[in-house]
Symmetry: C2
């Protein structure tokens, strides 16, 4: 096999979930039917890797020092929603009518992997809370063990700065049949049942 | 979302089997944890798209006018194995002890998709057979309807030039339990049963 082709197949394996077989398929596909797309991908990728950094306020990916959302007018600066990833931020932005600001951790507390408060930019977050502008911090980390630990830590940080922490509701997913919901969720939802009002 | 990030997510979708969600994950992954790999991928991809062409003899991908396998000594030039894709060629090269040459169709006859003899380089193949060097043409197209049609066409082409066509054996896969083999394969294998010799 051509050396350059071999290098291309190896290079594709930097992508998540791409092993040798998939990388090979990608390389063949690009060379056989997608040279223009491949050329474009190479160009955009090279540019993105150099030029996309992190917003100095929310840590989301941004080409500019402050991202469009943080810089934009018309957002409620008293609410700060803390998410793990840019994808989570996008999901909330798409699904809800939230008009406040965000803070992107780019991960969650995981001491075993060497991810502590510093790696998540919590010093930056603390300075933000010190500013006094934020009234409510909505903790939207995932409902996993690590996400919960992170949420706990964040809530303490908020309280230290006189900011009210809140957490996304947990319970049955909408449209979820009781029979197929996992035990943990069902047990939690049962215990956290709320009174029905007229 | 940053415009450049949006462009990167779109660009990734040129890859086979990559939709918007996967493209997004790839972009985030590269930016968050794989900038060096991303830089390398961009470079190799740009180079590959420009420099990798087709071998003028076998149509496999090659950086040089004639690929290493076609140019190499020590291959039996009387045998020519016709495969659909470079991946098929690689599979045969890895699994068998075949020492002849190859011809890569880069597809199979599919009139509805506009893929005819010309798109598969069969004019080049015909000239090769005219040369008189090839004695046996091993047709290793896939065992699908289109692969069979292609095989039929290739066999005729071979006979026209006085070359003996052969086809890979079809039957039960090794280690395959009868119970789980599909009906078509089982029926074919039963009909093509061979006498057992001492």
């Amino acid at each position: 096999m051509s050396l350059l082709l071999e290098q291309l197949i190896e290079a594709f394996q930097v992508l998540p979930g791409v092993g040798r077989k998939t990388a090979q398929r990608m390389a063949y596909h690009v060379l056989e039917r997608g040279r223009d797309g491949g050329r474009r991908l190479a160009g955009v990728l090279a540019e993105a890797v150099e030029r996309i950094g992190h917003c100095s306020q929310c840590r989301d990916f941004s080409e500019t020092e402050v991202c469009a959302l943080c810089a934009g007018a018309g957002r409620d600066r008293q609410q700060l929603c803390v998410v793990e990833t840019p994808a989570d931020r996008l999901a909330i932005e798409t699904a809800t009518g939230y008009r406040g600001l965000y803070f992107v951790l780019q991960g969650r507390l995981s001491p075993l992997d060497g991810i502590g408060p510093r790696e998540l930019g919590l010093d930056l977050l603390a300075r933000r809370l010190e500013g006094g502008e934020v009234a409510e911090m909505i903790v939207a980390t995932s409902a996993t063990v690590e996400g919960e630990a992170t949420a706990h830590y964040l809530a303490q940080l908020a309280r230290q700065h006189g900011v009210r922490p809140s957490r996304l509701a947990q319970g049955l997913p909408l449209g979820g049949e009781l029979e197929y919901v996992d035990r943990g969720t069902l047990s939690h939802a049962f215990g956290s049942r709320a009174e029905m009002k007229d």
